[in-house]
């Protein structure tokens, strides 16, 4: 019987790679059971468990937090997200990153002062070292 080459990859690592008889994926518009020689398909997937039926009869379960499924007749690829994505969650992350930048800007004055003080300090240290050398 024909098998399907399955690759489950995320941005940070390759999660699963191997041959399978059937793969069950939580597609965006319902569960999908993919058999070999399936017509090419591209869909988003919901967070859930991907069931991979291996050639030997064993099963492999992989949790994915959403992503994209690509099916070709003899190969199947799941581009898994590393975390659960939702629009407002992403939005919150944007806000967080912006806030950090604004705070840093507010503290900029003190940062600059610190840089000036550090420069003075290193100058003083160099002078000290020179004096010590002269004394020898």
């Amino acid at each position: 019987m024909a098998t399907l080459h399955v690759n489950i990859v995320s941005a940070e690592q390759s999660i699963f790679s191997g041959d399978a008889e059937m793969v069950v994926v939580p597609g965006e518009s319902g569960e999908l059971g993919i058999l070999p020689l399936h017509t090419p398909l591209l869909t988003r997937i919901r967070p859930g468990t991907v069931k991979v039926k291996l050639a030997g009869g064993n099963e492999e379960l992989v949790f994915v937090s959403g992503g994209i499924l690509e099916v070709q007749p003899k190969a199947l690829t799941i581009l898994a997200n590393t975390s659960i994505r939702a629009k407002d969650l992403d939005e919150a992350k944007v806000m967080q990153a912006k806030q950090a930048a604004e705070e840093a800007l507010a503290n900029r004055q003190s940062g600059q002062e610190r840089a000036v003080v550090q420069a003075e300090l290193s100058q003083l240290a160099a002078q000290l070292a020179a004096i010590r050398k002269l004394r020898k």
Partner: protein, 287 residues
């Protein structure tokens, strides 16, 4: 023997410094291996997503995503600058900053305003000192970068591109070539040129669920994120190998200094003994 005690102290202090640099070298070497593995682990995803995106944009030439639209006049430039959080890694960050200064001058020469996203502490400090407005930032990524932390700052720039607040987005980072060689790079992220996606490997006619546009939109966003992620992974590998090399040369220098100091110390000791002996002999002769 006033001089010899000072020399002894000096030798001791250089030896201590050498111990530290040696330890840092070994730590960096082991971290570098792991960082390189992570860099490789990120490759299949970006390869795959690239080929799917290439397929898709090839199959739908009539649909132009906003990320693929080229702007005629570039008035505002966004840049994502990836640097390390910590120093003591040779010229890594300095090279990246020099590259950045060159690019900023180029953009400002073309009457474009620059705004930046900083990934990493060193770049953030540089942008602040240089007076470039920082719209978003993330620092303290650690040795293991997580995509999750980068989503926010990257999306901030992507949103601005979609809103027309910036007309081009660049990514600056240090490319890992090999252990001895790292190169500061600045590449254009947006607008995505069709060439960068490359030609499709195969021409499948897909079924789309829910529809081609929704899938393409998501794919392109993930694609950009994966590019930024691999840039960060590569930057970390570069950082560790640059640190390893810098610490190795520091340890070698310390060894040389210790050698020189030991020679001086022995000479001083010998001179003192000779002096003492001649004093004794002189004293005996006088008696």
């Amino acid at each position: 023997m006033a001089g010899s005690k000072e020399i002894r102290n000096k030798i001791k202090s250089v030896e201590n410094t050498r111990k530290i640099t040696k330890a840092m070298e070994m730590v960096a070497a082991s971290k570098m291996r792991k960082a390189q593995e992570r860099m490789r682990a990120a490759r299949p995803y970006s390869e795959k997503i690239r080929s799917v995106a290439a397929n898709l944009s090839h199959a739908n030439p009539d649909y132009k995503h906003v990320f693929l639209q080229k702007r005629d006049v570039v008035r505002n430039v966004g840049v994502i600058m990836v640097t390390s959080d910590k120093g003591l890694c040779g010229g890594l960050n300095t090279n990246a900053m020099r590259m950045m200064v060159m690019k900023i001058k180029e953009w400002e020469g073309a009457d474009a305003k620059v705004q930046a996203t900083a990934i990493g502490n060193k770049g953030l400090g540089f942008l602040m000192r240089y007076g470039i407005p920082v719209t978003s930032q993330v620092i303290g990524l650690g040795d293991k970068p997580h995509l999750e932390k980068m989503i926010g700052p990257v999306k901030a720039q992507l949103d601005q591109f979609a809103d027309g607040k910036i007309d081009a987005l660049y990514l600056c980072y240090t490319k890992f070539i090999n252990t001895m060689k790292q190169e500061a790079m600045c590449e254009q992220l947006l607008p995505l040129s069709g060439d960068k996606l490359g030609a499709p490997d195969s021409s499948w006619d897909y079924l789309y669920e829910p529809d081609a546009k929704a899938v393409l939109d998501e794919l392109l966003e993930r694609y950009i994120e994966s590019i930024v992620y691999s840039a960060v992974a590569e930057n970390i590998a570069s950082e560790q190998s640059a640190r390893m090399v810098a610490m190795k040369s520091a340890s070698d220098n310390a060894k040389k200094v210790i050698g020189d100091l030991k020679l001086t110390y022995n000479k001083a000791r010998q001179a003192a003994i000779t002096k003492e002996l001649s004093e004794i002999v002189g004293g005996a002769a006088a008696v």
